[in-house]
Amino acid sequence: MNPIRHYFQLQFTLLNRHISEFGLVPWLGYVLSVGLFIGLSFFLYYRTEYAPYLLLFGTFGAVLNLGERFRNDFIKTTYKTAECKKIRLLENSIIALPFLIILVVKKDYLAALATMLGAILMAFIQFSRSSNFTLPTPFNRCPFEFAVGFRKTFFFHLLAYFLVFMAITVGNFNLGVFSLILVFMVCLTYYSEMEATYFVWVHAQQPKLFLWNKIKTGLLYSTVLSLPIAVSLILFKPEYTHIIITFQLLGYAYLATFILAKYSAFPKNIGLPQSILLALCFTMPPLLLVAASLFYRQSTRSLQPILP
């Protein structure tokens, strides 16, 4: 069989397995994903004029994932140079396609062009692994989620700080609030994957204390990242202080709930039931109270065998 066709058939099989293990039949997973993607994209367009930029960033974030070093090295050593380039180009194009379609439908042709060109370019760019440089973080006291996560996503935080600077410069308060939300959304991703069981087992703590310490660290470190934005916005628009504090507190609430949701599925990754409840919480914030208490109970139960 043609190696490239075989590669993509295999990737399709692997994707189906991921969806099945998430608790869905593959076709339903695809239908839901498409629906969710379209819904979210139109929602972004409805809520903010920066939607095309967000879609552009979304594309680059997804494409960057495919360019991950070990994965790329594997493809390079396994396939002939020309096949390797075709595979990377096709992969990036497939990932960029849904974003491209939305941008074209919304007549954002410039962003669509940037999306496609960026995706193509990133298939051929070899990101330097160079450096023994270690990005310093203020999170060394309590590794690892924030220390590791910050190093992977620091550019999103730089973007958030740039956006709040722009928000203040052009007098756009909504953009400022968006940058605050962006910081918390990025922090949530630090808890999206379950660590190896060993890294839970090493703690000489019972589940309640373990969870409390995780939440405490999460809240403290997310404050380090979000406070400059919150303070800048309060200084910029003191009359909206209550709104900024509300978003800051909501950020804390989502982060704590997310941490509890993560460990409620321990030792597996967050599954379908947790994801549905979290998604509902994003549409109805009061549900956070119910979700947090439910996840807390499940987490203590899941962690009990390994943290007696």
Binding site: P3, L10, T13, K80, S130, N132
Partner: protein, 226 residues
């Protein structure tokens, strides 16, 4: 023959490899020893074309990567790929007909399980099986014995010897000197990015004694274990 001349590699301003010269003859097994961070893996990646470098690598096989089987220290596996699919993928990538995998599964690996669930040694054995099925001419094996059980160690040693007798070119690194002693025709000592010593088979014992004296020195005494 693969001829590596004056190969240097920088990570930023830090020079990891400093003018490496190495001739890899067909039908010979070349061993590289060195401390962690000496530059062994970087050298292997340069030869495989995974890293840019200064200097030149010339050889009979063009391009080398299409004839090269690289066994990394920590092989990569796609999430949710089974052992069988991994072997199929690597054979297919080289346009090779698929052999009877059950027959070729000499390490008795559970091929229908996800490769990610394998132990370190099983992952290594799966990746080794795959590059053997690819019928490569050149093999770079980074720590092939690492984490592998003693029975499989014996099988791997036998495989290396057979590859040598078939005229293949082999470059191996290992932290276990005895495994190199059993398999290599020549051993190179890499230190701080350059070869500081090389030895033929009749000098292996001297090389090991020198390394032991130099490496161990007074380090253990410094721990003050009592």
């Amino acid at each position: 023959m693969i001829n590596i001349e004056n190969l240097s590699k920088y990570y930023g301003s830090h020079q990891v490899l400093k003018g490496i010269n190495l001739q890899l003859a067909a039908g010979q097994v070349h061993g590289i020893v060195g401390e962690n961070g000496a530059g062994k893996t970087t050298l292997f990646k340069c030869i495989a074309g995974l890293e840019d470098f200064e200097g030149s690598i010339q050889g009979d096989y063009k391009p080398l990567k299409n004839h090269l089987g690289l066994l990394p220290t920590d092989p990569f596996f796609f999430s949710k790929i089974t052992g069988r699919e991994y072997l199929q993928l690597l054979c297919n990538a080289r346009h090779l007909p698929l052999p009877d995998l059950d027959e070729k599964n000499i390490f008795d690996l559970p091929l229908n399980q996800y490769a990610a669930t394998y132990s370190t040694g099983m992952k290594k054995k799966l990746a080794l099986t795959a590059i053997l099925l690819q019928q490569n001419e050149v093999f770079i094996l980074d720590e092939p014995f690492n984490g592998v059980d003693i029975q499989s160690n014996m099988v791997i040693t036998e495989i290396i010897q057979q590859l040598r007798s078939l005229g293949k070119t082999l470059l191996i690194s290992s932290h276990i000197f005895s495994t190199l002693n059993d398999t290599c025709d020549r051993i190179y000592l890499l230190k701080d990015g350059q070869f500081v010593r090389q030895a033929g088979r009749d000098e292996f014992a001297d090389l090991e004694a020198e390394m032991r004296a130099f490496t161990v020195g007074d380090r253990v005494a410094r721990l003050g274990l009592g």
